[in-house]
Amino acid sequence: MIQALAFYLFALVVLLSGAMTILSRNPVHSVLWLILAFFNAAGLMVLVGAEFIAMLLVIVYVGAVAVLFLFVVMMLDIDFAELRAGFVRYAALGLLLAVALVAEILIGVGAWSAGGIDLARRAAPTDAGVPNIEAIGQLLYTRYLFIFEGAGLVLLVAMIGAIVLTHRERSGSRYQNIARQNARRPQDATRNVRPEIGQGVQL
Protein backbone atom coordinates (compact mmCIF):
# COMPACT_ATOMS: atom_id res chain seq x y z
CA MET A 1 0.00 0.00 0.00
CA ILE A 2 2.66 2.48 1.09
CA GLN A 3 4.92 1.26 -1.74
CA ALA A 4 2.20 1.82 -4.30
CA LEU A 5 1.44 5.30 -2.98
CA ALA A 6 5.12 6.19 -2.94
CA PHE A 7 5.54 4.83 -6.46
CA TYR A 8 2.70 6.93 -7.85
CA LEU A 9 3.93 9.98 -5.98
CA PHE A 10 7.51 9.65 -7.27
CA ALA A 11 6.41 8.76 -10.79
CA LEU A 12 3.99 11.68 -10.92
CA VAL A 13 6.63 14.13 -9.71
CA VAL A 14 9.17 12.76 -12.21
CA LEU A 15 6.72 13.26 -15.08
CA LEU A 16 5.58 16.69 -13.93
CA SER A 17 9.08 17.99 -13.30
CA GLY A 18 10.23 16.54 -16.61
CA ALA A 19 7.46 18.45 -18.32
CA MET A 20 8.27 21.61 -16.37
CA THR A 21 11.94 21.27 -17.39
CA ILE A 22 11.02 21.95 -20.98
CA LEU A 23 8.07 24.24 -20.30
CA SER A 24 9.54 26.75 -17.86
CA ARG A 25 10.85 29.94 -19.43
CA ASN A 26 13.71 30.61 -17.06
CA PRO A 27 16.64 28.24 -17.77
CA VAL A 28 17.65 28.20 -14.10
CA HIS A 29 14.17 27.00 -13.20
CA SER A 30 14.50 24.37 -15.91
CA VAL A 31 17.66 23.01 -14.31
CA LEU A 32 15.98 22.98 -10.91
CA TRP A 33 13.04 21.02 -12.27
CA LEU A 34 15.51 18.61 -13.84
CA ILE A 35 17.15 18.16 -10.44
CA LEU A 36 13.76 17.40 -8.92
CA ALA A 37 13.21 14.80 -11.65
CA PHE A 38 16.58 13.16 -10.87
CA PHE A 39 15.80 13.16 -7.21
CA ASN A 40 12.46 11.45 -7.63
CA ALA A 41 13.97 8.96 -10.06
CA ALA A 42 16.30 8.07 -7.19
CA GLY A 43 13.20 7.54 -5.06
CA LEU A 44 11.86 5.12 -7.67
CA MET A 45 15.19 3.25 -7.59
CA VAL A 46 14.86 2.85 -3.82
CA LEU A 47 11.40 1.41 -4.32
CA VAL A 48 12.65 -1.32 -6.66
CA GLY A 49 15.34 -2.18 -4.11
CA ALA A 50 18.31 -0.67 -5.96
CA GLU A 51 19.42 1.59 -3.13
CA PHE A 52 23.02 1.74 -4.34
CA ILE A 53 21.98 3.04 -7.76
CA ALA A 54 19.64 5.52 -6.06
CA MET A 55 22.43 6.94 -3.91
CA LEU A 56 24.78 7.11 -6.87
CA LEU A 57 22.12 8.93 -8.86
CA VAL A 58 21.83 11.53 -6.14
CA ILE A 59 25.58 11.86 -5.56
CA VAL A 60 26.63 11.96 -9.20
CA TYR A 61 23.75 13.60 -11.00
CA VAL A 62 22.16 15.81 -8.36
CA GLY A 63 25.33 16.53 -6.41
CA ALA A 64 27.84 17.04 -9.20
CA VAL A 65 26.48 17.14 -12.74
CA ALA A 66 23.45 19.32 -11.99
CA VAL A 67 25.57 21.74 -9.95
CA LEU A 68 27.74 22.26 -13.03
CA PHE A 69 24.63 22.68 -15.20
CA LEU A 70 23.35 25.26 -12.78
CA PHE A 71 26.70 27.04 -12.79
CA VAL A 72 26.81 27.24 -16.56
CA VAL A 73 23.21 28.36 -16.87
CA MET A 74 23.63 31.03 -14.21
CA MET A 75 26.78 32.36 -15.83
CA LEU A 76 25.46 32.39 -19.38
CA ASP A 77 23.97 35.55 -20.72
CA ILE A 78 20.98 34.02 -22.44
CA ASP A 79 18.96 35.94 -24.96
CA PHE A 80 15.42 34.58 -24.65
CA ALA A 81 14.17 36.18 -27.85
CA GLU A 82 16.89 34.44 -29.83
CA LEU A 83 16.09 31.12 -28.18
CA ARG A 84 12.47 31.37 -29.17
CA ALA A 85 13.29 32.44 -32.71
CA GLY A 86 14.78 29.01 -33.37
CA PHE A 87 11.58 27.23 -32.40
CA VAL A 88 9.99 27.12 -35.84
CA ARG A 89 13.24 26.15 -37.51
CA TYR A 90 13.80 23.13 -35.29
CA ALA A 91 10.16 22.19 -34.88
CA ALA A 92 10.28 19.59 -37.65
CA LEU A 93 13.37 17.93 -36.24
CA GLY A 94 11.91 17.94 -32.73
CA LEU A 95 8.69 16.43 -33.99
CA LEU A 96 10.66 13.71 -35.75
CA LEU A 97 12.51 12.88 -32.52
CA ALA A 98 9.26 12.81 -30.57
CA VAL A 99 7.67 10.46 -33.09
CA ALA A 100 10.71 8.18 -32.96
CA LEU A 101 10.60 8.05 -29.15
CA VAL A 102 6.87 7.33 -29.06
CA ALA A 103 7.37 4.59 -31.66
CA GLU A 104 10.08 3.04 -29.51
CA ILE A 105 7.82 3.06 -26.48
CA LEU A 106 5.03 1.44 -28.49
CA ILE A 107 7.37 -1.22 -29.87
CA GLY A 108 8.65 -1.90 -26.37
CA VAL A 109 5.18 -2.27 -24.91
CA GLY A 110 4.14 -4.41 -27.90
CA ALA A 111 7.10 -6.76 -27.45
CA TRP A 112 6.38 -7.03 -23.73
CA SER A 113 2.70 -7.86 -24.19
CA ALA A 114 3.43 -10.29 -27.01
CA GLY A 115 4.91 -12.56 -24.33
CA GLY A 116 7.95 -14.73 -24.71
CA ILE A 117 10.03 -12.74 -22.20
CA ASP A 118 10.90 -15.16 -19.45
CA LEU A 119 12.03 -13.16 -16.41
CA ALA A 120 13.26 -16.26 -14.66
CA ARG A 121 15.88 -16.77 -17.38
CA ARG A 122 17.61 -13.41 -16.97
CA ALA A 123 21.38 -13.36 -17.41
CA ALA A 124 22.31 -13.20 -13.75
CA PRO A 125 19.45 -13.18 -11.26
CA THR A 126 21.14 -12.35 -7.98
CA ASP A 127 20.14 -13.57 -4.61
CA ALA A 128 17.80 -11.08 -2.94
CA GLY A 129 19.72 -11.43 0.33
CA VAL A 130 22.98 -10.11 -1.17
CA PRO A 131 23.30 -6.35 -0.69
CA ASN A 132 23.25 -4.23 -3.85
CA ILE A 133 26.82 -3.07 -3.54
CA GLU A 134 28.20 -6.59 -3.25
CA ALA A 135 26.11 -7.90 -6.12
CA ILE A 136 27.17 -5.08 -8.44
CA GLY A 137 30.78 -5.33 -7.31
CA GLN A 138 30.84 -9.09 -7.97
CA LEU A 139 29.57 -8.61 -11.50
CA LEU A 140 31.64 -5.54 -12.35
CA TYR A 141 34.96 -6.88 -11.13
CA THR A 142 34.66 -10.42 -12.42
CA ARG A 143 32.36 -10.97 -15.33
CA TYR A 144 32.31 -7.51 -16.86
CA LEU A 145 35.80 -6.45 -15.79
CA PHE A 146 37.05 -5.54 -19.27
CA ILE A 147 33.93 -3.59 -20.17
CA PHE A 148 34.18 -1.77 -16.86
CA GLU A 149 37.83 -0.91 -17.45
CA GLY A 150 36.93 0.18 -20.95
CA ALA A 151 34.32 2.56 -19.54
CA GLY A 152 36.96 3.94 -17.19
CA LEU A 153 39.27 4.47 -20.16
CA VAL A 154 36.56 6.33 -22.05
CA LEU A 155 36.06 8.62 -19.06
CA LEU A 156 39.81 9.20 -18.81
CA VAL A 157 39.99 10.13 -22.50
CA ALA A 158 37.02 12.47 -22.07
CA MET A 159 38.68 14.10 -19.08
CA ILE A 160 41.99 14.61 -20.88
CA GLY A 161 40.11 15.89 -23.92
CA ALA A 162 38.22 18.44 -21.84
CA ILE A 163 41.44 19.65 -20.24
CA VAL A 164 43.25 19.90 -23.58
CA LEU A 165 40.36 21.74 -25.20
CA THR A 166 39.83 24.29 -22.47
CA HIS A 167 43.35 24.80 -21.19
CA ARG A 168 45.03 27.97 -22.32
CA GLU A 169 48.37 29.26 -21.25
CA ARG A 170 48.11 32.73 -19.77
CA SER A 171 51.20 34.76 -20.30
CA GLY A 172 52.17 37.34 -17.77
CA SER A 173 50.32 35.93 -14.76
CA ARG A 174 52.54 35.71 -11.72
CA TYR A 175 52.05 32.67 -9.55
CA GLN A 176 52.90 32.46 -5.91
CA ASN A 177 55.86 30.17 -5.35
CA ILE A 178 55.35 29.05 -1.79
CA ALA A 179 58.58 27.06 -1.53
CA ARG A 180 60.57 30.08 -2.68
CA GLN A 181 58.76 32.34 -0.23
CA ASN A 182 59.47 29.99 2.62
CA ALA A 183 63.11 29.60 1.66
CA ARG A 184 63.66 33.35 1.62
CA ARG A 185 65.52 34.67 4.67
CA PRO A 186 65.93 38.27 5.90
CA GLN A 187 69.63 38.29 5.08
CA ASP A 188 68.87 37.50 1.42
CA ALA A 189 66.26 40.19 1.17
CA THR A 190 67.65 43.11 3.16
CA ARG A 191 70.97 44.85 3.30
CA ASN A 192 72.27 47.29 5.86
CA VAL A 193 74.01 50.26 4.32
CA ARG A 194 75.36 53.46 5.78
CA PRO A 195 75.63 55.91 2.91
CA GLU A 196 77.73 59.04 3.00
CA ILE A 197 75.73 62.23 3.19
CA GLY A 198 74.60 63.27 -0.23
CA GLN A 199 75.61 59.95 -1.84
CA GLY A 200 72.31 58.01 -1.81
CA VAL A 201 72.00 54.25 -2.05
CA GLN A 202 72.72 51.93 -4.94
CA LEU A 203 69.78 49.55 -5.32
Binding site: M1, I2, V28, H29, L32, I35, E51, F52, M55, L56, V58, I59, V62, G63, A64, V67, L70, F71, M74, P131, N132, I133, Q176
Partner: protein, 348 residues
Amino acid sequence: MTGFFNSTLGMSYGWSWFLATIIGILVIALPLMLAVAMIIYADRKIWAAMALRRGPNVVGPFGLLQSFADGLKVFLQETIVPSAANRGLFLLAPIITFTVALIVWAVVPFQPSVVLADINVGLLYVLAASSLGVYGIILAGWSSNSKYPFFSAIRAAAQMVSYEVAIGFVLISIVMWAGTFNLTGIVEAQKGLYGFINGFAFNPLLFPMSVVFLISSLAETQRAPFDLTEAESELVAGYQTEYSSMSFALYWLGEYANVLLMCTLNATLFWGGYLPPFDWAPLYVVPGIIWLFAKILFFFFVFSWIKATVPRYRYDQLMRLGWKVFLPLSLFWVFLVSGVLMFMRVGV
Protein backbone atom coordinates in the same frame (compact mmCIF):
# COMPACT_ATOMS: atom_id res chain seq x y z
CA MET B 1 9.62 0.64 18.66
CA THR B 2 7.74 -0.73 15.67
CA GLY B 3 7.54 -4.00 17.56
CA PHE B 4 6.06 -2.26 20.61
CA PHE B 5 3.22 -0.69 18.62
CA ASN B 6 2.73 -3.84 16.59
CA SER B 7 2.54 -6.44 19.35
CA THR B 8 1.67 -4.55 22.54
CA LEU B 9 -0.92 -2.14 21.15
CA GLY B 10 -2.10 -4.50 18.43
CA MET B 11 -1.76 -2.12 15.49
CA SER B 12 -1.09 -3.23 11.94
CA TYR B 13 2.55 -3.38 10.90
CA GLY B 14 2.27 -0.47 8.47
CA TRP B 15 0.74 1.89 11.01
CA SER B 16 3.10 0.94 13.80
CA TRP B 17 6.08 1.46 11.48
CA PHE B 18 4.69 4.85 10.49
CA LEU B 19 4.11 5.95 14.09
CA ALA B 20 7.49 4.66 15.27
CA THR B 21 9.26 6.53 12.48
CA ILE B 22 7.43 9.78 13.22
CA ILE B 23 8.29 9.48 16.92
CA GLY B 24 11.89 8.66 16.03
CA ILE B 25 12.16 11.75 13.87
CA LEU B 26 10.77 13.95 16.64
CA VAL B 27 13.05 12.35 19.25
CA ILE B 28 16.06 13.21 17.08
CA ALA B 29 15.03 16.58 15.61
CA LEU B 30 13.68 18.38 18.69
CA PRO B 31 16.70 17.77 20.96
CA LEU B 32 18.88 18.61 17.96
CA MET B 33 17.29 22.06 17.72
CA LEU B 34 17.83 22.58 21.43
CA ALA B 35 21.43 21.38 21.03
CA VAL B 36 21.95 23.81 18.16
CA ALA B 37 20.74 26.71 20.32
CA MET B 38 23.09 25.73 23.13
CA ILE B 39 25.98 25.08 20.78
CA ILE B 40 25.69 28.58 19.32
CA TYR B 41 25.97 29.89 22.87
CA ALA B 42 28.94 27.58 23.54
CA ASP B 43 30.62 28.70 20.33
CA ARG B 44 30.31 32.35 21.30
CA LYS B 45 31.53 31.67 24.84
CA ILE B 46 34.57 29.69 23.70
CA TRP B 47 35.41 32.28 21.12
CA ALA B 48 35.05 35.06 23.68
CA ALA B 49 37.20 33.24 26.23
CA MET B 50 39.99 32.83 23.69
CA ALA B 51 39.78 36.53 22.86
CA LEU B 52 39.79 37.41 26.59
CA ARG B 53 36.22 38.70 26.44
CA ARG B 54 33.17 37.68 28.44
CA GLY B 55 30.83 36.63 25.69
CA PRO B 56 27.05 36.58 26.14
CA ASN B 57 26.35 37.03 29.86
CA VAL B 58 23.15 39.07 30.15
CA VAL B 59 20.15 36.89 29.31
CA GLY B 60 19.61 34.21 31.94
CA PRO B 61 22.26 32.76 34.28
CA PHE B 62 25.69 33.04 32.57
CA GLY B 63 23.85 34.20 29.46
CA LEU B 64 22.56 30.68 28.89
CA LEU B 65 19.31 31.89 27.33
CA GLN B 66 21.03 34.19 24.82
CA SER B 67 20.28 31.96 21.82
CA PHE B 68 16.61 31.74 22.73
CA ALA B 69 16.43 35.51 23.09
CA ASP B 70 18.05 35.87 19.68
CA GLY B 71 15.63 33.36 18.23
CA LEU B 72 12.66 35.24 19.64
CA LYS B 73 14.01 38.53 18.35
CA VAL B 74 14.50 37.12 14.86
CA PHE B 75 11.06 35.52 14.96
CA LEU B 76 9.39 38.87 15.66
CA GLN B 77 11.14 40.64 12.80
CA GLU B 78 9.65 41.23 9.39
CA THR B 79 10.62 38.95 6.52
CA ILE B 80 11.87 41.21 3.77
CA VAL B 81 12.01 39.84 0.23
CA PRO B 82 13.99 42.12 -2.08
CA SER B 83 11.84 43.31 -4.97
CA ALA B 84 14.40 42.14 -7.55
CA ALA B 85 14.64 38.70 -5.97
CA ASN B 86 13.22 35.53 -7.44
CA ARG B 87 10.58 35.18 -4.75
CA GLY B 88 9.85 31.46 -4.75
CA LEU B 89 13.46 30.33 -4.85
CA PHE B 90 14.48 33.02 -2.38
CA LEU B 91 12.12 31.56 0.21
CA LEU B 92 12.84 27.95 -0.76
CA ALA B 93 16.64 28.17 -0.37
CA PRO B 94 16.88 28.39 3.45
CA ILE B 95 14.31 25.59 3.75
CA ILE B 96 16.52 23.34 1.59
CA THR B 97 19.60 24.11 3.70
CA PHE B 98 17.76 23.43 6.93
CA THR B 99 16.11 20.22 5.71
CA VAL B 100 19.32 18.79 4.32
CA ALA B 101 21.07 19.54 7.60
CA LEU B 102 18.44 17.49 9.40
CA ILE B 103 17.96 14.46 7.13
CA VAL B 104 21.48 13.07 7.57
CA TRP B 105 20.81 12.46 11.26
CA ALA B 106 18.56 9.57 10.22
CA VAL B 107 21.55 7.26 9.75
CA VAL B 108 23.66 8.34 12.75
CA PRO B 109 23.90 5.51 15.30
CA PHE B 110 23.53 6.83 18.86
CA GLN B 111 23.94 3.48 20.57
CA PRO B 112 24.18 -0.10 19.36
CA SER B 113 21.03 -0.56 17.24
CA VAL B 114 19.63 2.84 18.25
CA VAL B 115 19.41 4.46 14.83
CA LEU B 116 16.42 5.76 12.91
CA ALA B 117 17.28 4.15 9.56
CA ASP B 118 19.78 1.30 9.70
CA ILE B 119 20.35 1.16 5.93
CA ASN B 120 23.26 -0.67 4.35
CA VAL B 121 24.24 2.30 2.17
CA GLY B 122 24.46 4.61 5.20
CA LEU B 123 27.70 6.33 4.28
CA LEU B 124 26.56 6.88 0.68
CA TYR B 125 23.41 8.44 2.07
CA VAL B 126 25.54 10.83 4.10
CA LEU B 127 27.53 11.74 0.99
CA ALA B 128 24.37 12.20 -1.06
CA ALA B 129 22.75 14.45 1.52
CA SER B 130 25.87 16.53 1.97
CA SER B 131 26.10 17.00 -1.78
CA LEU B 132 22.56 18.38 -1.66
CA GLY B 133 23.59 21.00 0.88
CA VAL B 134 25.18 23.10 -1.82
CA TYR B 135 21.81 23.85 -3.43
CA GLY B 136 20.50 25.91 -0.54
CA ILE B 137 23.50 28.18 -0.90
CA ILE B 138 23.61 28.43 -4.70
CA LEU B 139 19.91 29.17 -4.84
CA ALA B 140 20.20 31.82 -2.14
CA GLY B 141 23.00 33.51 -4.03
CA TRP B 142 21.27 33.43 -7.36
CA SER B 143 17.74 34.27 -6.28
CA SER B 144 18.84 37.26 -4.17
CA ASN B 145 19.77 38.96 -7.44
CA SER B 146 22.52 40.87 -5.76
CA LYS B 147 26.27 40.91 -6.30
CA TYR B 148 27.69 39.83 -2.97
CA PRO B 149 25.41 36.85 -2.40
CA PHE B 150 26.13 35.65 -5.92
CA PHE B 151 29.90 35.82 -5.44
CA SER B 152 29.52 34.04 -2.14
CA ALA B 153 27.32 31.34 -3.66
CA ILE B 154 29.83 30.64 -6.42
CA ARG B 155 32.65 30.46 -3.90
CA ALA B 156 30.64 28.16 -1.65
CA ALA B 157 29.64 25.84 -4.46
CA ALA B 158 33.19 25.50 -5.77
CA GLN B 159 34.51 24.98 -2.24
CA MET B 160 31.98 22.33 -1.27
CA VAL B 161 32.28 20.41 -4.54
CA SER B 162 36.09 20.42 -4.27
CA TYR B 163 36.25 19.18 -0.72
CA GLU B 164 33.54 16.59 -1.28
CA VAL B 165 35.98 14.81 -3.60
CA ALA B 166 38.58 14.49 -0.86
CA ILE B 167 35.93 13.47 1.67
CA GLY B 168 34.69 10.80 -0.72
CA PHE B 169 38.14 9.24 -0.99
CA VAL B 170 38.65 9.36 2.77
CA LEU B 171 35.34 7.59 3.22
CA ILE B 172 36.38 4.94 0.70
CA SER B 173 39.47 4.11 2.76
CA ILE B 174 37.26 3.82 5.84
CA VAL B 175 34.74 1.66 4.04
CA MET B 176 37.44 -0.66 2.76
CA TRP B 177 38.92 -1.07 6.21
CA ALA B 178 35.55 -1.62 7.88
CA GLY B 179 34.16 -3.72 5.03
CA THR B 180 30.72 -2.08 5.16
CA PHE B 181 28.86 1.10 4.26
CA ASN B 182 26.60 0.79 7.28
CA LEU B 183 27.51 3.33 9.98
CA THR B 184 26.76 0.95 12.85
CA GLY B 185 28.96 -1.62 11.13
CA ILE B 186 31.74 0.93 10.80
CA VAL B 187 31.55 1.77 14.51
CA GLU B 188 31.57 -1.92 15.46
CA ALA B 189 34.60 -2.49 13.19
CA GLN B 190 36.56 -0.01 15.33
CA LYS B 191 36.14 -2.12 18.45
CA GLY B 192 39.22 -3.53 20.14
CA LEU B 193 42.05 -2.22 17.99
CA TYR B 194 45.24 -3.89 19.33
CA GLY B 195 42.93 -5.47 21.87
CA PHE B 196 42.40 -2.45 24.07
CA ILE B 197 41.58 0.74 22.15
CA ASN B 198 38.54 1.77 20.09
CA GLY B 199 38.77 3.95 17.00
CA PHE B 200 40.25 3.98 13.53
CA ALA B 201 42.24 7.10 14.35
CA PHE B 202 44.55 5.06 16.57
CA ASN B 203 45.48 2.99 13.54
CA PRO B 204 48.63 4.62 12.16
CA LEU B 205 47.51 3.81 8.62
CA LEU B 206 44.18 5.61 8.96
CA PHE B 207 45.24 8.45 11.26
CA PRO B 208 46.36 10.80 8.42
CA MET B 209 42.94 10.36 6.87
CA SER B 210 41.28 11.46 10.11
CA VAL B 211 43.24 14.72 9.90
CA VAL B 212 42.28 15.18 6.24
CA PHE B 213 38.67 14.51 7.14
CA LEU B 214 38.70 16.99 10.02
CA ILE B 215 40.09 19.76 7.82
CA SER B 216 37.77 18.88 4.95
CA SER B 217 34.80 18.94 7.28
CA LEU B 218 35.78 22.47 8.30
CA ALA B 219 35.77 23.42 4.62
CA GLU B 220 32.54 21.56 3.96
CA THR B 221 30.69 23.43 6.70
CA GLN B 222 32.34 26.74 5.78
CA ARG B 223 33.75 27.26 9.21
CA ALA B 224 36.81 29.35 9.86
CA PRO B 225 39.51 29.26 8.49
CA PHE B 226 37.55 28.40 5.34
CA ASP B 227 34.64 30.79 5.88
CA LEU B 228 35.33 32.61 2.62
CA THR B 229 31.66 32.49 1.73
CA GLU B 230 30.91 34.84 4.59
CA ALA B 231 34.15 36.79 4.46
CA GLU B 232 32.69 39.93 6.00
CA SER B 233 35.53 42.15 4.83
CA GLU B 234 34.75 41.36 1.19
CA LEU B 235 31.23 40.02 0.88
CA VAL B 236 29.13 41.70 3.61
CA ALA B 237 27.44 38.56 4.98
CA GLY B 238 27.86 36.34 1.93
CA TYR B 239 24.85 34.49 0.62
CA GLN B 240 22.78 35.52 3.65
CA THR B 241 23.14 39.24 2.94
CA GLU B 242 19.59 39.74 1.68
CA TYR B 243 17.96 37.46 4.24
CA SER B 244 16.15 38.60 7.32
CA SER B 245 13.94 37.23 10.08
CA MET B 246 13.10 33.51 10.05
CA SER B 247 14.67 32.78 6.67
CA PHE B 248 17.93 34.05 8.11
CA ALA B 249 17.39 32.03 11.28
CA LEU B 250 16.90 28.88 9.20
CA TYR B 251 20.35 29.39 7.67
CA TRP B 252 21.77 29.93 11.10
CA LEU B 253 20.21 26.76 12.49
CA GLY B 254 21.08 24.73 9.40
CA GLU B 255 24.68 25.85 9.51
CA TYR B 256 25.16 24.87 13.12
CA ALA B 257 23.25 21.61 12.65
CA ASN B 258 25.72 20.86 9.85
CA VAL B 259 28.65 21.67 12.11
CA LEU B 260 27.27 19.32 14.76
CA LEU B 261 26.77 16.68 12.10
CA MET B 262 30.36 16.96 10.91
CA CYS B 263 31.55 16.67 14.53
CA THR B 264 29.41 13.55 14.84
CA LEU B 265 30.83 12.09 11.64
CA ASN B 266 34.37 12.75 12.85
CA ALA B 267 33.54 10.99 16.10
CA THR B 268 31.69 8.12 14.42
CA LEU B 269 34.06 7.37 11.57
CA PHE B 270 37.40 7.78 13.28
CA TRP B 271 37.07 7.95 17.04
CA GLY B 272 34.80 5.04 17.78
CA GLY B 273 31.36 6.73 17.81
CA TYR B 274 29.33 5.40 20.71
CA LEU B 275 32.14 3.12 21.90
CA PRO B 276 34.21 4.19 24.90
CA PRO B 277 37.80 5.12 24.06
CA PHE B 278 39.21 1.95 25.61
CA ASP B 279 37.95 -1.56 25.12
CA TRP B 280 37.67 -2.21 28.83
CA ALA B 281 34.49 -3.74 30.30
CA PRO B 282 33.76 -1.20 33.13
CA LEU B 283 33.70 1.63 30.58
CA TYR B 284 30.79 -0.02 28.77
CA VAL B 285 28.60 0.65 31.83
CA VAL B 286 28.32 4.25 30.68
CA PRO B 287 25.70 4.35 27.90
CA GLY B 288 27.06 4.75 24.38
CA ILE B 289 25.14 7.95 23.77
CA ILE B 290 27.12 9.70 26.51
CA TRP B 291 30.42 8.69 24.92
CA LEU B 292 29.13 9.88 21.56
CA PHE B 293 28.04 13.24 23.01
CA ALA B 294 31.35 13.67 24.78
CA LYS B 295 33.17 13.11 21.49
CA ILE B 296 30.84 15.46 19.60
CA LEU B 297 31.38 18.19 22.18
CA PHE B 298 35.13 17.65 22.06
CA PHE B 299 35.13 18.07 18.28
CA PHE B 300 32.91 21.11 18.55
CA PHE B 301 35.42 22.60 20.95
CA VAL B 302 38.15 21.88 18.40
CA PHE B 303 36.07 23.60 15.70
CA SER B 304 35.60 26.69 17.91
CA TRP B 305 39.24 26.64 18.89
CA ILE B 306 40.26 26.67 15.23
CA LYS B 307 37.77 29.45 14.54
CA ALA B 308 39.23 31.57 17.32
CA THR B 309 42.89 31.03 16.46
CA VAL B 310 43.45 30.42 12.75
CA PRO B 311 43.34 33.30 10.26
CA ARG B 312 41.19 32.98 7.16
CA TYR B 313 42.64 31.28 4.08
CA ARG B 314 42.92 33.02 0.77
CA TYR B 315 40.68 31.53 -1.89
CA ASP B 316 43.48 30.25 -4.11
CA GLN B 317 45.14 28.65 -1.08
CA LEU B 318 41.86 26.93 -0.27
CA MET B 319 41.59 25.53 -3.79
CA ARG B 320 45.25 24.51 -3.76
CA LEU B 321 44.79 22.66 -0.48
CA GLY B 322 41.71 20.84 -1.77
CA TRP B 323 42.85 19.86 -5.24
CA LYS B 324 46.63 19.70 -5.05
CA VAL B 325 47.16 18.37 -1.52
CA PHE B 326 44.12 16.53 -0.20
CA LEU B 327 42.92 14.96 -3.44
CA PRO B 328 46.26 13.30 -4.38
CA LEU B 329 46.93 12.38 -0.76
CA SER B 330 43.57 10.74 -0.18
CA LEU B 331 43.68 9.03 -3.59
CA PHE B 332 47.09 7.64 -2.75
CA TRP B 333 45.74 6.48 0.59
CA VAL B 334 42.97 4.56 -1.14
CA PHE B 335 45.66 2.61 -3.00
CA LEU B 336 47.73 2.22 0.14
CA VAL B 337 44.85 0.95 2.27
CA SER B 338 43.63 -1.45 -0.39
CA GLY B 339 47.19 -2.71 -0.86
CA VAL B 340 47.62 -3.31 2.87
CA LEU B 341 44.26 -5.08 3.00
CA MET B 342 45.21 -7.33 0.09
CA PHE B 343 48.49 -8.09 1.80
CA MET B 344 46.79 -8.93 5.10
CA ARG B 345 44.10 -11.11 3.57
CA VAL B 346 45.83 -12.83 0.70
CA GLY B 347 49.50 -12.59 1.56
CA VAL B 348 52.26 -11.79 -0.89
